[in-house]
């Protein structure tokens, strides 16, 4: 039973950052701007927020510090994403090029600045993890469910799930969401009924930046004791999750948990009773999410749910 708890708890560490960042990807792509710079935005968000924790952890600790760090991560991501928004919306540049530039820029920037501003001149930013909740009061005592969801958890897990709920509501139940989706499907039609396409696309990119920045912080906190200017390519993995989830929040949730579970099993299969004797190399588990993505793409490409106008710069004059 404790192994089951372990698998579920660890799956959260993989899935929640993927979920948050992939939801960011949904917003930007639904607005018609592709954003492959999610990885770079994760790095930037993690960089500023972890540095904040590093500086402030002597005076404060625990959930309050984490919440402020989350705010900083979101703001950093939003600001950084403005570069991408300006290039791809105002300047109508190739969005892949712009995203690539930001992905290359972010880790270099993080290393350079960390070395400049840290007293010891090193690129790693260390932090002490005071954010783990060993057991949520009351809820953690519920049999089974408490062990699965409310023990050895981080507040970011619940924030991630909250973001999912809000995303569903915003995308499908609000005027803003409808307009955003319209700009990703047929921007000229949206423009003809008075929607400001540029503003909508800015909003989509900025939301993705904010969520990616948050995802970077959420990714780093449980898995290391320092930040070394990398998120191990999870921004790109989140893109795969987004595609696997066919740009729909609830499917993205499913995809994120599927990826997370496979990642957990690939790492921890040696302690899972029936898998440790199965003699399947861990590489197989590592491959499964990607093979599944390929299969899903192969079968769904005819009825692909990708926003029609994604990655196409909006030009009022074109027809």
């Amino acid at each position: 039973m404790s192994i089951l708890y372990l698998v579920v708890q660890q799956t959260m560490f993989f899935s929640i950052p993927l979920l948050i960042v992939a939801l960011g990807g949904v917003f930007t792509e639904r607005s018609g701007v592709t954003n492959i710079a999610l990885d770079g935005m994760m790095i930037m968000g993690a960089f500023t927020s972890i540095f904040f924790i590093n500086q402030m952890q002597s005076t404060m600790s625990g959930q309050l510090l984490l919440l402020i760090a989350i705010l900083i991560a979101v703001v950093t991501g939003v600001v950084f994403s403005l570069l991408h928004a300006y290039a791809s919306v105002n300047m109508k540049s190739d969005q892949i090029i712009s995203g690539t530039a930001l992905n290359l820029f972010a880790p270099a920037f993080a290393i350079y600045v960390a070395r400049m501003i840290q007293e010891n001149g090193v690129q790693q930013i260390t932090f002490s993890n005071t954010f783990r909740i060993s057991s949520v009061p009351v809820l953690g005592d519920i049999p089974i469910l408490g062990g699965l969801l409310f023990k050895n958890a981080y507040i970011t897990t619940y924030i991630g799930l909250l973001i999912l709920v809000i995303s569903v509501i915003v995308l499908y139940k609000t005027r803003f969401g409808l307009r955003l989706r319209a700009c990703g499907e047929h921007p000229h039609a949206a423009d003809s009924v008075g929607i400001n396409v540029y503003r909508m696309r800015y909003a989509g990119v900025m939301i993705s930046g904010g969520l990616a920045g948050l995802g970077g912080l959420v990714f780093v906190i449980p898995t290391s004791t320092q930040f070394n200017a990398t998120v191990s390519g999870y921004g790109f993995l989140a893109l795969a999750v987004m595609i696997f989830g066919q740009w729909k929040p609830m499917r993205v949730l499913f995809a994120a948990f599927f990826f997370g579970l496979m990642k957990t099993i690939a790492s921890a299969y040696s302690v899972i009773p029936f898998l440790s004797t199965a003699q399947i190399p861990s590489d197989v588990y590592k491959m499964i999410p990607f093979i599944a993505t390929l299969i899903v793409l192969a079968f769904s490409s005819k009825s692909s749910q990708a926003p029609r106008a994604v990655a196409v710069p909006y030009d009022k004059g074109s027809r």
Partner: protein, 369 residues
């Protein structure tokens, strides 16, 4: 405006590329800039100068010696991990006035083999390896080079011995890539645990054994470590650069213990009970001293073990309960005296050894793929 943006993006890419790959000068270089440049040069291996492990340990030795004697020093970071890039960095260092080039890491074996012929009036100190050509058919160390390797198996032995003596019976070993140094650490660790268990009369010790395949902190490593701890592993010997940080993170969440590697890592996490150290700084200093004293051990292949103070545990910062300084001194003296024969990564004929060749009977080692 569009042109301006294209330019801006182009600059952003060029800048970031340059920042990624450029040769970075030492940030805290106190040496006076003199006409002939920097006398002592270090080329970094995989990882940065502040990896809290190999590069940093070596660099600290250089800095300590150079600042004491007022010698200029600088490190160079190769653009990538290839022989050509290493050679380019060495060339840069030599053109920058280097008289002694220090290179940490066995990946430099081939570059130094070539460089020792190219720059005959420059001296090379190769840490953790001996020069050889690309296909291992020729091993040659010229008079202007010296190869220093450490008896990692002795360092690992001390750690394994101390852990079992201290009362741990369920152990884990998590190495980075299965490179010779890491393998020697792991095999020494297993043999040390075996020896201590035999002394204490413990009937059985469990050892989980794994190579992560990289030297990075990843969630995968953290998950694996957490799963080991959840299954009952009490202490993991984390042997591979940043791999240790993921293991420490897992240990903090699980309330378990970690053994660090290469340098004293106790400052990085409360969970580090001790570290299997190599005397990187000390050996670099002694080699530099020998060079400046005029008796550079050129052409030699030095092995620094316990007898040369090349390995140790940092007893002052260790968090042992039952393993005392006297115990440590006793086992260390045994190593120095050569009473303990250890199986390394290869035997005398060069055949690769496996876990089954270690002659373990009490320690039940399970290799986790």
């Amino acid at each position: 405006m569009k042109k301006f943006l294209v330019l801006l993006l182009a600059f952003a890419m060029v800048f970031s590329l340059a920042a990624c790959g450029g040769t970075e000068p030492a940030p805290d270089d106190d040496g006076e800039p003199v006409a002939e440049g920097y006398e002592i040069a270090m080329i970094t291996d995989i990882g940065s100068i502040d990896d809290k492990s190999f590069n940093q340990g070596t660099w600290e030795g250089i800095v300590a010696y150079a600042e004491e004697n007022g010698i200029t020093h600088k490190y160079y970071k190769p653009t990538e991990q290839t022989t050509d890039a290493y050679l380019a960095s060495i060339q840069l260092a030599v053109e920058g006035g280097a008289k002694v080039v220090v290179t940490p890491g066995f990946l430099f074996e081939e570059p130094i083999f070539i460089a020792q012929d190219m720059y005959e009036d420059v001296n090379f100190i190769l840490i953790d390896g001996n020069p050889h050509n690309a296909d291992y058919t020729e091993f040659r160390t010229n008079d202007n080079a010296v190869g220093i390797v450490y008896a990692e198996e002795e360092s690992g032995y001390l750690a394994g011995y101390a852990a079992v003596k201290d009362g741990y019976t369920k152990l884990g070993f998590m190495g980075g890539m299965a490179v010779p140094a890491v393998v020697r650490f792991g095999y020494g660790f297993a043999q040390g645990a075996e020896a201590a268990a035999a002394e204490l009369g413990i009937p059985s010790i469990e050892l989980k054994y794994h190579y992560t395949g990289n030297f990075d902190a990843t969630p995968e490593t953290q998950t694996l470590a957490t799963s080991w701890y959840a299954e009952g592993v009490e202490v993991i010997f984390a042997c591979g650069g940043l791999v240790g940080n993921s293991v420490m993170s897992a240990a903090e969440a699980s309330g378990a213990a970690v053994i660090g590697v290469d340098v004293d890592q106790s400052s990085e996490s409360e969970t580090v009970i001790t570290s299997a150290m190599k005397g990187l700084a000390a050996s670099v200093q002694s080699a530099l001293e020998a060079y400046y004293a005029g008796n550079f051990p050129g052409g030699e292949a030095l092995v620094y073990g316990a007898a040369q103070d090349g390995v140790q545990l940092p007893m002052e910062t260790s968090k042992f309960e039952n393993f005392t300084q006297a115990d440590y001194d006793a086992v260390f003296a045994d190593l120095v005296a050569g009473n303990i024969k250890l199986v390394k990564d290869t035997d005398a004929s060069g055949k690769e050894m496996t876990l089954n060749d270690l002659g373990l009977s009490i320690v039940k080692a399970t290799l986790v793929e």
